[in-house]
Symmetry: C2
Subunit: 152 residues, 2 copies
DNA sequence: GCTTGACTTTACCATCATAGGAAGGTGCAC
DNA sequence: GTGCACCTTCCTATGATGGTAAAGTCAAGC
C-alpha cells in the first residue's frame, strides 16, 4: 500500500471525514481541488489527511464551516497573531454559551410544567395547559429573567 | 373589525406564527386546510389562532414538528392519559440534556485550549495545535448529526 | 482473457424549520 | 379608478450530512 498517495476511501478512513464530505469540502472550496489519477480518481497525500483531521476536530468542537475556513487560514499562516485564533475561539465559546442557556431555559420551563403533571390515566395535564396558555411561559426569553435567546 | 374570521396576516399577528409558516404547517398537514374566501384567501377563526399559539409555544420549548403533531393529537383528545404527555415531555427533556451536555463538552475542551493561548501578536497557538493534534481532544462525546442549533 | 466485487465518478434528492423573493390577483380607502 | 397593502402559488436558500443511482475503474481469481 502506497501511503504517499491514496484514493478518497482510504483518505476518509485515515482522516475520519467521510468520502462524501471530502468531495463536498472540495466543492465549496474549503480544501483545494484534489489531484486526479489518470482515470479521474482523486488522490491524496498525508498532508491532505492532516488538513482533514484538523477540519474534523474543529467540527467536533462545533465550529461552523465558515469559522473553520478562517481557522485553516490562520493555521497555514506562519505569521498569524495568536490573538486572532483566540478571538475566534472565544466568539465560538460565547455562541455555545448562548445556545446552552437557551436550551437550559427550555428545559427548566418544561420541567416546571412536567412536575405538576400526574402522568397517569387521567386526562388533566398542566403540560398541555401550559402550551395552550395565551401568552405565558415563553421559555425562549423573558421568563424568569433568562438571557434573551436567538429571537427572530 | 370582524374577529370571528380573519385573513392570514391578522392570524399571524395574533398567534405569533408567521403567515409563511402558517401556510407551511398547512402544507405538511400539521394543521387542517384553512377555509377559503370566495376569492381564495385563507380565513381563520379564533380557535385556529389558539392552535397556532399552542404550536408556537411548543416550538419555543424546542419540540420538533413531529413531536408537536403528537402533542396536538393529545391536546385534542379529551380522553388522553396524561402519562403520554408527560412521557413526551420527559423524552424531550432528555434530548435537551444530551445536547446541552454535548455543547458543554465542546465548551470545556475549547476553554482548555484557549486558556493556554497567549492571544498576542506571536504565532504560537495551543488552540491550533490542539485542532491539528492527531487524535486527542475529542469533545464530541455524543453524535454529530444532531448537534446543530435548534434554530437558524 | 473474462468475471466479480470493491471502489470511484457525477448528479440529484432528502433532511429540518424558516426566510426571501417573484409574478400576479384581490380588497378597500381615497 | 387608482394606489397600496394584502393575498396567492411556486421557487430558492440555508448548513452539514446522508442516500441513491448510473456509470466508469481497478485488481484479483479463474
Amino acid at each position: 500500500m502506497d501511503m504517499m498517495q491514496m484514493n478518497i476511501g482510504e483518505t476518509a478512513k485515515h482522516s475520519g471525514v467521510s468520502a462524501k464530505m471530502i468531495r463536498h469540502y472540495e466543492g465549496i472550496g474549503l480544501i483545494p481541488k484534489a489531484t486526479r489519477s489518470y482515470s479521474g480518481y482523486r488522490t491524496y497525500a498525508a498532508s491532505d489527511v492532516h488538513t482533514l483531521r484538523f477540519i474534523r476536530q474543529a467540527r467536533n468542537l462545533g465550529f461552523s464551516i465558515k469559522q473553520i475556513e478562517q481557522l485553516l487560514g490562520l493555521w497555514r499562516n506562519q505569521r498569524r497573531p495568536s490573538s486572532k485564533v483566540k478571538a475566534l475561539a472565544q466568539a465560538h465559546i460565547a455562541e455555545l454559551d448562548a445556545r446552552i442557556a437557551e436550551m437550559q431555559a427550555m428545559k427548566r420551563t418544561l420541567q416546571d410544567l412536567a412536575v405538576h403533571c400526574h402522568g397517569d390515566d387521567r386526562p388533566e395535564c398542566p403540560i398541555l395547559d401550559g402550551l395552550a396558555a395565551p401568552l405565558a411561559a415563553d421559555a425562549s426569553g423573558a421568563r424568569r429573567g433568562r438571557a434573551a435567546s436567538t429571537r427572530h
